[in-house]
Structures are given as structure tokens and as C-alpha cells.
Symmetry: C2
Subunit: 404 residues, 2 copies
């Protein structure tokens, strides 16, 4: 008998028929003698629909009221899922975030989980119930409803798995797991059986859409191993876990391409202490996440500073930077037509030559490298967007990822 | 400055435009220097839609899960209403039933309010906020979500008005108030300015659709005066209050017709102690509310027992009675084509001749009386359904209700 936490995303509970299929899956796992806590998302589309109606009422709806509103999406799914389980003879009980004891801080729309009081869940599990918990939501210490932000249901699942010391945590989604590259672009991409938290984190921040970084960060921090798998079939997925020695045998685990980044260049920035700090303070104050940063060597006392931000943030970034640019007498330009290509693998720690292979492969397919940034287990290059897919395929082959 | 409780029903908050209109009404009352606590229902249609989807998942969904599900309808409206108020510059804060401190018993789908801890509402009122509370819902002592059953939002409003000692309680609906008769049937029907709790109760149980009896019962028990009025205009409505001496000058306050009752007749019932008790015990166990009961004088040791039940309960009643009928060797028949016509007025207590006028008027329009039942302030007759509207018009005139 194992204690299993499962999380089903929006497409997995998208309609009545899908919910019934989820109930059957849960029933069969329970019939094998397991205990289950199941976290569910709002059915796909609901959240966007509610946001649209809120925007029709108020251009800038209050964050507290948005959380009060958006939490109903998951509340609908928990009730329907519990009913579907009852219909197939499985005792089940639904929990809102508050009822599940998920206490967060007071940061509406992006709250952080502070603690989980699992006593009620444990008592209901002991009585033989399957527990269905609303993902994405919690309650603050004053009883206010909060939501966890994008990817919040994954975070709910991982945090609950940690709190109840689950034997397994399974994140069900509409893909089979984490791939060596985007299978729509790289035909020979293969599903990865095991990946380390760090690799998963690097992939998430390099354009892989499977999970948000913060859920993986949480899992890494508390070492809560989880499996990403599909609710549309019974194939095994990708196990995300602490780094194992064997993982270093594989030099590159995967290739990720991100076409949703824009490059901002500040020309003729006075090269004196504190100037760059002003730039990034202005961006941080506007809540803009900056990714790659490169500054060339200054000559004549001025330098060019280049960095990347998400494409949708370009205008916000320009506005935030205007006063600084003005103050220091520099010039700002933006380039949106580029792509960020990353190779990720813990094996890089102990293998040399990864950068050399990467750069040679790019040269072979005629791709010029614009910016380079690296971490211990990742190399990222900024390249021409039009050539990114070709480059990804060549690199996938060059690092031997085509073969099992 | 007054402390005003308002309740807006499903049609009043039916879409974004209606919600904005409600926000404007609230703003204008607040601008006059008043404090407001506003109770809202789910927008019309939502509850039925959720019920339909629940039934698609499970033929007999659990009552706990139904409450978990249905409470989201009101939760949507509170957030939207608060946002609409923010958009017109009014500070507002939404409360779920739980956040409003509405504690109920554990009877899912028909919970009774046990207490209201108004401390949080009072604190937010003192800060200048308009409070928006989800009607129809509460929380039990274990933190489980409960709902109050049909007409529950009216009950929430009246209970909150009592708890915070409001100066006024206004129930906004899609009609202008309580009428002397159904205006669709009786052209000369007039809006009633003031009515006693008891009269309102008798009207509610006699087929008037304006409010459910239990909200009025609650208001009467705690003497919480309220006004029923329309959210579609600014006309004064009907004030429902404790009986005043002046009310007795009006003999008959209103006429109500109920065509949704069925008559059940048990023929040849053995006329011995305990037989009738068995019949009504069987009906009570099946949760069927019996209204008029008439038994004729027994001869040859057998009697006929006649009573009325809501039409939709006829089949359930037949099933519930089958074993008893069988046991005592009687025969059961049902008649659905009849109407219940009632005249109601506290004036009846001190005026004689009401029954005589009623019966003479019915005779004049050729209507035969089938059953009669009376209370201190009501006379009800069961008559031919086809003639019920004509009868109502004649009686409305006979009791002088046509004129102001």
C-alpha cells in the first residue's frame, strides 16, 4: 500500500467525460490498495473566462477580489470529481484550499505557501476516503482567500506530497513527460525517463512549457520527487528527482528553444559604478524578470549593455527605463526577432567540450551566435529566430539525443 | 446616517450590465452618508446549470458536494460586485458566507443559521467599506461549506440585518413588492404598502412566489422588519413588519391562488384510532409536506381521507403510501386538476362575515367548493382549476381590493 498524490491539470478535467475518466483512473489505483490525495485544477478555459468578465467590469480589478473570484474554478472541479468518484463507488471528500489547511502569505494572486496542516486530510484518509483538493488556492492567516499564481496547482500538489510524506507524487498533464526537445520541432525527440531537479529547473526557465520553475524549486528545496505523465494514456512519464551519480553519464539531457524573449540594448551607457545598478533596479521595481545580461568592454568611457526580457514585457520595460536612459544620456533599442537556445545537463559538470561541440554545430548550420550565457549545467545562446528550429535539430543529433 | 442591509436576487445581478447598475444604486445610497451590507445571489441560471452538470456526473450527487459546488455561484457574484463598486470609486470588500461568520448546523442543502459573528463585517464597515456578502451559504462548526436551501439569500440578508442591528433591510427582486393578487391574473391588483409577518407568511404558503416562508418566519421570530422592492426602478416596495393596530382595518389583505397542488383521496379507510397517523407518518418519512387535510364522518366503520400535496410530489407520495394502503385495505386516488384559493388578512381576527362573503362570491360565479381550511387570518378553498382565475378576480373585487 502506498500513499499517492496526484495532480490533474485543466485539460484532464476539461469536461464531464474527462472527469469520469479521471475517476476511473483513481478507482483502479485505489482498488490496488493505495491511498490517494488528488489535486485538481480548474477545467481549461474557466480561468480565462472569469478574467475576461472581471475586465469587463473593471479595467484594473483588485487582486483580493480576483483571488476570491478565480478560486471558484478549482472549487467546481473538486465537487464534480468527488461526485464522479461516488458514482463509481469510491468514498471521496472534496477540500477547498482552506479546508486542506494550505496557509499562505498575504500576496494576493501570487501567494507563497507557508504551511500545510494536514490533520484533516490524514483523518479522512484513515477512514478510507480519497481526498480531492482544490489546487492553486490557499487561505492567509486572516481567513482571506489567496491564489498561488501560474502553475499553482502543481505547487499545491508538490507541497501536499511533502506535507503528508507521500510515497509518490504524479503530475498528470496532456503530454507524456519531459522530452529531449520539443517533439513538434525535433522529430527524433525522446521522452526522458529521469531528470534532476536542477535540469528540470534549467529547462523550465529555458522555454520548456511542461512546468513552472517555482514548483520545481519547491520540490528541490524539500526533495519531493515527482513524475510528470499523461492523463490520456498509461505510459510511464518522467521522474524528477535529486541528482543521481548515473545522471552524469549523459552530458546533455535536453535542448530547449524560447522564442518569446526580446533583447534590449542600451547604447552609450556611461561606464561608471552604479549605472547598471540603476537600470536593473528600475526593471526590478516594475517586476520585470531579466534573463541574459551582457555588457561589452567599455571604451571612451561608454559601454553597450544588452539583456533579454519576455517579449510581452518589452513596452513595460521601455517605460520603466525611460527616466534612467534620460538621466544618463544613453539610447535604448529593442530587438524582438531572436531566439534563445539552451542545452541542459548535469553531465556538463564533469565533461568538457560541450561548448565547443555546441558552437561548432551552430557554425556548421550557418548560425551566428549573438549572446552567450552559462550556468554550471546549461549553455544558452541567443541566435537568429528564423534558424532556431534547424539549429535545435542539429544540436539534438550532435549530442546523441536522437538515440535511446 | 443609517446602516442598511440590501439583498439582490439572481435577475438583479444577472449579467455585467446589471451588476454595474446595482453598483450605481449602492454608490448613490452610500453617497447619502449611509453604511451598507449587501447580500447577493448567484446570477440567475448558474445554479440550475451547475445542478445539470452534477446530474450528468452522478444521478444522486452527495449533498455535501452539492453545497461545495453550489456555493461558487454566489462567490462569483460577490467578487464581480466588489469590482464594480471599485470601478465607481466605492471601497468595497467581498465576504463568503464563512468569512461573514455565518455558522449553520450540518444539514447540507438546507442548513439552518445558528449564529452570525459580525465582528469582521463591523470592523470593515467602520473603515468605510461597503460589505458584499455571498447569500445562501454558510459554514458549519467543522469548517464544511453548507447552503441554506431555496430562498436562502433572503434568509442570509434578514439574519445579517438582525445580527448587525441594521436600520433597514431591503430585499431587491424583479417585482415591485407584494400585490393584493397576481397582477398577471387580476388586472386591478395593487401593490401593498405594509403587511404583517403573519399575512406575508400565509401568502407565501398560499402560492405567492415573492418569498419563501422560512425567511419570513425568521424575520417574525426576531422581529426584523424588511422591505420587498424592485431593483429595476426606484419605486417604494412593500414593508413587512410586526402587526400594527391599523392593519386590522383592512379585512382581507390579498388573494392568492396555487395551481401546483394535487389532491390525494384515500377511500374506505378503516375508521379506527391510529390509521390516519400511519398515513401521515409515511408521508413525513418521505419528506412530503401535506397542506389541507379533510376527513369525512365515518359510517359503516370506514371514512374517506383527503389531503393536498405539491403536484411534483404526487408520485413520491403514492410510493410512500403504497404499503399503508395495502396494509389497511383502502384505495388511493389522485386529482391534480384543482386549485387552492386563499384570502389572507389580520383583519379577519376582529371582523366576522369573511367566510360568508367568500362563499357567496364563489357561488355567484358558479364555483363549487371542494375543501375548506382556515387559520385565524386565512380562509382557503379547493376549487376547480379552470375557474380559479375568474374566482380570484371576483373575490378581489368583493373584498374591495380593487380600490386604493
Amino acid at each position: 500500500m502506498a500513499l499517492i498524490v496526484q495532480k490533474y491539470g485543466g485539460t484532464s478535467v476539461g469536461d464531464v467525460e474527462r472527469i469520469k475518466k479521471v475517476a476511473e483512473r483513481i478507482k483502479s489505483i485505489r482498488d490496488d490498495g493505495n491511498q490517494l490525495v488528488v489535486i485538481v485544477s480548474a477545467r481549461s478555459g474557466v480561468t480565462n473566462e472569469l478574467i475576461a468578465r472581471a475586465k469587463a467590469i473593471s479595467a484594473d480589478p483588485s487582486e483580493r477580489e480576483m483571488d476570491q473570484l478565480l478560486s471558484i474554478g478549482e472549487q467546481e472541479t473538486i465537487a464534480f470529481t468527488a461526485m464522479a468518484l461516488h458514482a463509481v463507488g469510491v468514498p471521496a471528500i472534496s477540500y477547498t484550499g482552506a479546508q486542506a489547511g494550505i496557509v499562505t502569505d498575504k500576496a494576493y494572486t501570487k501567494a507563497r505557501i507557508q504551511s500545510i496542516d494536514a490533520a484533516a486530510m490524514k483523518a479522512d484518509l484513515a477512514k478510507g476516503n480519497v481526498i480531492i483538493v482544490a489546487g492553486f488556492q490557499g487561505i492567509d492567516s486572516d481567513g482571506q482567500t489567496t491564489t498561488l499564481g501560474r502553475g499553482g496547482s502543481d505547487l499545491s500538489a508538490i507541497a501536499i506530497a511533502g506535507a503528508i510524506k507521500a510515497d509518490k507524487c504524479e503530475i498528470y498533464t496532456d503530454v507524456d513527460g519531459v522530452y529531449t526537445a520539443d517533439p513538434r520541432v525535433v522529430k527524433n525527440a525522446r521522452k526522458i525517463d529521469e531528470i534532476s531537479y536542477d535540469e528540470m529547473l534549467e529547462l523550465a526557465s529555458s522555454g520548456s512549457k511542461v512546468m513552472q520553475s517555482r514548483s520545481v524549486e519547491f520540490a528541490k528545496k524539500y526533495d519531493i520527487q515527482f513524475e510528470v505523465r499523461s492523463s490520456f494514456n498509461h505510459n510511464p512519464g518522467t521522474l524528477v528527482k535529486e541528482e543521481a551519480a548515473s545522471m552524469e553519464k549523459v552530458v546533455v539531457r535536453g535542448v530547449a528553444v524560447d522564442k518569446n524573449q526580446a533583447k534590449l540594448i542600451i547604447h552609450n551607457l556611461t561606464d561608471k559604478p552604479g549605472t547598471a545598478a540603476k537600470v536593473f533596479r528600475a526593471l526590478a521595481d516594475a517586476n520585470i524578470v531579466v534573463d541574459m545580461i551582457v555588457q561589452n568592454v567599455g571604451h571612451n568611457g561608454v559601454a553597450n549593455l544588452t539583456f533579454t526580457v519576455p517579449s510581452i514585457e518589452v513596452n513595460k520595460a521601455k517605460q520603466a527605463l525611460a527616466p534612467v536612459i534620460n538621466e544618463v544620456g544613453a539610447k535604448l533599442s529593442a530587438q524582438e526577432e531572436f531566439a534563445k537556445l539552451s542545452v541542459v545537463g548535469v553531465g556538463m559538470k564533469t565533461h568538457s567540450g560541450v561548448a565547443a561541440t555546441l558552437f561548432k554545430t551552430l557554425a556548421d548550420v550557418g548560425v551566428n551566435i549573438d549572446l552567450i550565457s552559462t550556468s554550471e549545467i546549461r549553455i544558452t545562446v541567443a541566435i537568429d529566430q528564423a534558424k532556431a528550429d534547424d539549429a535545435a535539430r542539429a544540436i539534438h543529433t550532435a549530442f546523441g539525443l536522437d538515440k535511446a
